[in-house]
C-alpha cells in the first residue's frame, strides 16, 4: 500500500508536502503509516491497549492540524505521539499509577526462566519515560541525535545524556546481571 498519489508531491529531499486542501489524504495516511506508528507507541507504552489509545490520541490531534502540516506528516504525528506519551497522565484509571520508574511488586520474578531478550525488554520497562523515548527513537526509529532532539523538543546534548543514562541503567539492571536481585 502506498500513500503518495493520494497525499502529495514528493520534494527532492524525499519529504512529503501536503496538499493545501482540507484533510485530504488523512485517511490514506492512517491506513498506510499508522501500523509503524503503532509499533513505536507500543515500544513506548508496552501495552497494546495504551499504544492504540496513544496513537489515536496523536492522530486526532494531527487531524485538526492536517491542513497546516508542511513536511513529513509521519514525522509530525510521531512528534505528537512521543510528546503526548512523555506527558501522559492517565487519570481515569486507578489501578495503574503513572510513574517514571515502575515499582517493584510482590510478584515473583519470572525473568530467570525467559530469554535474555525478554530480560532486556523488561529492563527497558524500568526506564523513565524520557529515556525510554530516546531509546526507541534512536535504536528503533534509527533517528539521529539531532532528529531525536527535534522530535522531543530538546537539545542534542539532552538526547546524548538521556541515552547515556538509559544505557547505563540497562547495564546495571538486576535482570541483566549475574547478581541475585531482591526476592521481591
Amino acid at each position: 500500500m502506498t500513500i503518495e498519489p493520494a497525499l502529495a508531491d514528493r520534494t527532492r529531499e524525499g519529504r512529503v508536502r501536503m496538499r493545501g486542501d482540507e484533510r485530504g489524504g488523512f485517511d490514506d495516511f492512517v491506513a498506510a503509516r499508522s501500523g509503524r506508528l503503532l509499533r513505536t507507541a507500543y515500544l513506548l507504552t508496552r501495552d497494546h491497549g495504551q499504544a492504540e489509545d496513544l496513537l489515536q490520541t496523536a492522530l486526532t490531534k494531527a487531524w485538526f492540524a492536517w491542513g497546516r502540516i508542511d513536511g513529513d506528516p509521519e514525522g509530525y504525528v510521531r512528534r505528537i505521539l512521543v510528546n503526548t506519551y512523555a506527558t501522559w497522565w492517565r487519570r481515569k484509571w486507578r489501578g495503574e499509577q503513572a510513574t517514571d520508574v515502575l515499582p517493584e511488586t510482590g510478584v515473583p520474578d519470572r525473568s530467570t526462566a525467559v530469554a535474555e531478550g525478554n530480560d532486556l525488554w523488561h529492563a527497558m520497562g524500568r526506564l523513565p519515560r524520557r529515556q525510554r523515548a530516546v531509546v526507541v527513537l534512536r535504536y528503533f526509529e534509527d533517528l539521529t541525535e539531532a532528529q531525536t532532539a527535534d522530535v522531543l523538543g530538546c537539545t542534542v546534548g539532552t538526547v546524548k545524556s538521556q541515552a547515556s543514562k538509559a544505557l547505563a541503567k540497562l547495564r546495571v539492571d538486576p535482570a541483566l546481571t549475574d547478581e541475585t536481585g531482591d526476592r521481591a
Partner: protein, 418 residues
C-alpha cells in the same frame, strides 16, 4: 546487556505487526474521536457564552463570615463537615446551578477534597463528569456521595440533574479535626483499619532519618507500605526482612496524608517476619548506603494480610476514592480462556471494578460498552480498576498473549459500603 545491537534486536522483536484490517478500523476510530472533540469544542463555546449569563444567575456562596450558620444548597442543608474513611472535611464553597446543571472549576490544593452535590428536585439522580472521568450516573441521596480530589489536582466537575437544579459543595480536609484511629505524626496517618486489614506497626521518621524499624509481632503474613519525600532523585526506599530484601521503589513525591491508602504494597511471609523489618532510604538501586539528606522524611507501616492469591479478586472489601467498597459480584473466565464478557450489577451505581489476569505475556484490554479503553500489563501482575455505571457491559480480552491454563482473567464488582 551486551550492546546496542542487542538493544535494537530486542526492540525489533517486540514491535508488533499490525494487520491491515486493524488500520481500517483505526481510521473510523480516529474520526469518532474527532467528532467528540468537535462536539466538546462547540459545547465549550456555548458554555463560554452561558458563563457570561450565569454571572448574574448562578449563586456562589463562600464561607468566611465567621459566624457558624446552617448553609443551604439548592434548598438542602449542607453540613459543616463530611467524613470519609475517618477523616473530617470542612465545608468550603457552595455553588448552585441553573437549567439543570452546574459546573465548578477547581484549582489545585495542598489537601484532599471532596466535591459533593445535591438537587432541588425529589429525583436525586445526577450525572457527574470531569477530572478525567467519563460521565457516570449517581443516585445517592443529597450530599452523601462525592468525587475525591487528590492534592495537586485541578480541573472541572460538572453535575447534571435529571430533575431540578443541582448544587455543588466543596469540602477540604480539616486542618484541626482529629485524625482516624491509628498512627499519626507530622500530618501523616496510618489508619488502624484499611479495608479489612489492621495496623500492626507504623513509624514516620525524624527529618533526615533514613532508616526505620517495624515490628510485625506474631503475624505470619503482613502487608508493607512505605514512602518517602525530600530525597535526591534516584534514591530508593527499600525494605529488608529477616530473610533478606523484600521490595523497594524509587523515592519521590510527598508523604501522603492517608499513607496506607496510596501507592504500592508488598506482601511479606513468615520467613521475612521472624524479626523486625528494616526500611531504609538508600543512595541508589545498587548502592545500599543510607541517604544523608536534611529534608528526608520516611514513613512505613505493616498491616495484617489474610493471605489468598495476592490479587484483588480475592478481596471482599477495598477502598477507592475516599470510600469503602464491598464486593457484590465476581467473574472468572474459564481456565485458559482469554476473553471474559461481563455486565456490571444493576442497582444504585456507579460500581467499582477491579480486573486482572494471569498470563506470561500480554496485556489486558478492557472494553466498556462500545468503547475500548486501556488495560493493564498482566504479564507483570498488573491489575486495573475504574468506576462504571450500573448494567454497563465490560469485556476483558487478553491481547498479545495467552491466559494461563489454570487461571484466566477475572473481574470483581464492588458497591459502596459506607
Amino acid at each position: 546487556m551486551t550492546g546496542i545491537d542487542e538493544l535494537r534486536a530486542t526492540l525489533q522483536s517486540h514491535a508488533p505487526q499490525v494487520p491491515d484490517h486493524e488500520t481500517q478500523q483505526r481510521v473510523g476510530a480516529v474520526h469518532r474521536r474527532v467528532a467528540v472533540v468537535r462536539r466538546r469544542r462547540r459545547a465549550a463555546a456555548v458554555a463560554a457564552v452561558a458563563a457570561v449569563v450565569a454571572v448574574s444567575g448562578a449563586v456562589v456562596l463562600r464561607p468566611g463570615s465567621g459566624e457558624p450558620e446552617p448553609a443551604s444548597l439548592v434548598g438542602v442543608t449542607a453540613p459543616d463537615t463530611m467524613t470519609s474513611l475517618g477523616y473530617t472535611y470542612d465545608r468550603g464553597d457552595l455553588v448552585e446551578g441553573q437549567d439543570g446543571s452546574v459546573r465548578l472549576r477547581l484549582e489545585a490544593s495542598d489537601v484532599p477534597r471532596l466535591v459533593s452535590w445535591a438537587t432541588s428536585g425529589d429525583d436525586q439522580v445526577v450525572t457527574v463528569s470531569g477530572l478525567g472521568s467519563d460521565p457516570l450516573t449517581y443516585s445517592a441521596d443529597d450530599l452523601t456521595d462525592w468525587v475525591y480530589v487528590e492534592p495537586g489536582v485541578s480541573g472541572s466537575v460538572r453535575v447534571e440533574a435529571r430533575e431540578g437544579d443541582p448544587g455543588l459543595a466543596v469540602y477540604s480536609l480539616s486542618p484541626s479535626a482529629s485524625r482516624p484511629d491509628g498512627y499519626t505524626r507530622d500530618g501523616v496517618t496510618y489508619r488502624e483499619q484499611v479495608a479489612d486489614t489492621r495496623l500492626l506497626d507504623a513509624e514516620v521518621g525524624d527529618l533526615g532519618q533514613a532508616e526505620l524499624s517495624l515490628d510485625p509481632g506474631t503475624a505470619a503474613r503482613a502487608r508493607l507500605v512505605m514512602s518517602c519525600e525530600g530525597a535526591p532523585r534516584g534514591t530508593w526506599i527499600r525494605a529488608v526482612g529477616s530473610d533478606g530484601p523484600v521490595g523497594g521503589t524509587e523515592c519521590g513525591g510527598d508523604l501522603p496524608v492517608d499513607a496506607a491508602a496510596t501507592g504500592s504494597w508488598w506482601t511479606l511471609d513468615s520467613a521475612a517476619l521472624e524479626g523486625s523489618v528494616r526500611v531504609v532510604v538508600q543512595t541508589s538501586y545498587r548502592d545500599s548506603t543510607p541517604v544523608r539528606a536534611p529534608g528526608l522524611r520516611v514513613g512505613a507501616a505493616l498491616y495484617t494480610d489474610s493471605g489468598g492469591a495476592g490479587n484483588r479478586a480475592d478481596e471482599t472489601l477495598v477502598e477507592d476514592g475516599g470510600h469503602l467498597w464491598r464486593r457484590v459480584a465476581r467473574f472468572d473466565a474459564e481456565a485458559g480462556a482469554s476473553r471474559l464478557p461481563t455486565t456490571a450489577p444493576e442497582g444504585d451505581g456507579p460500581f467499582l471494578f477491579w480486573a486482572g489476569g494471569d498470563a506470561e505475556v500480554g496485556t489486558l484490554a478492557v472494553g466498556i460498552g462500545d468503547e475500548r479503553v486501556s488495560g493493564a500489563l498482566i504479564g507483570s501482575g498488573g491489575e486495573t480498576s475504574t468506576l462504571v455505571d450500573a448494567g454497563e457491559r465490560v469485556t476483558l480480552t487478553v491481547r498479545g498473549g495467552q491466559a494461563t491454563a489454570d487461571r484466566g482473567v477475572w473481574i470483581s464488582y464492588y458497591e459502596l459500603a459506607d
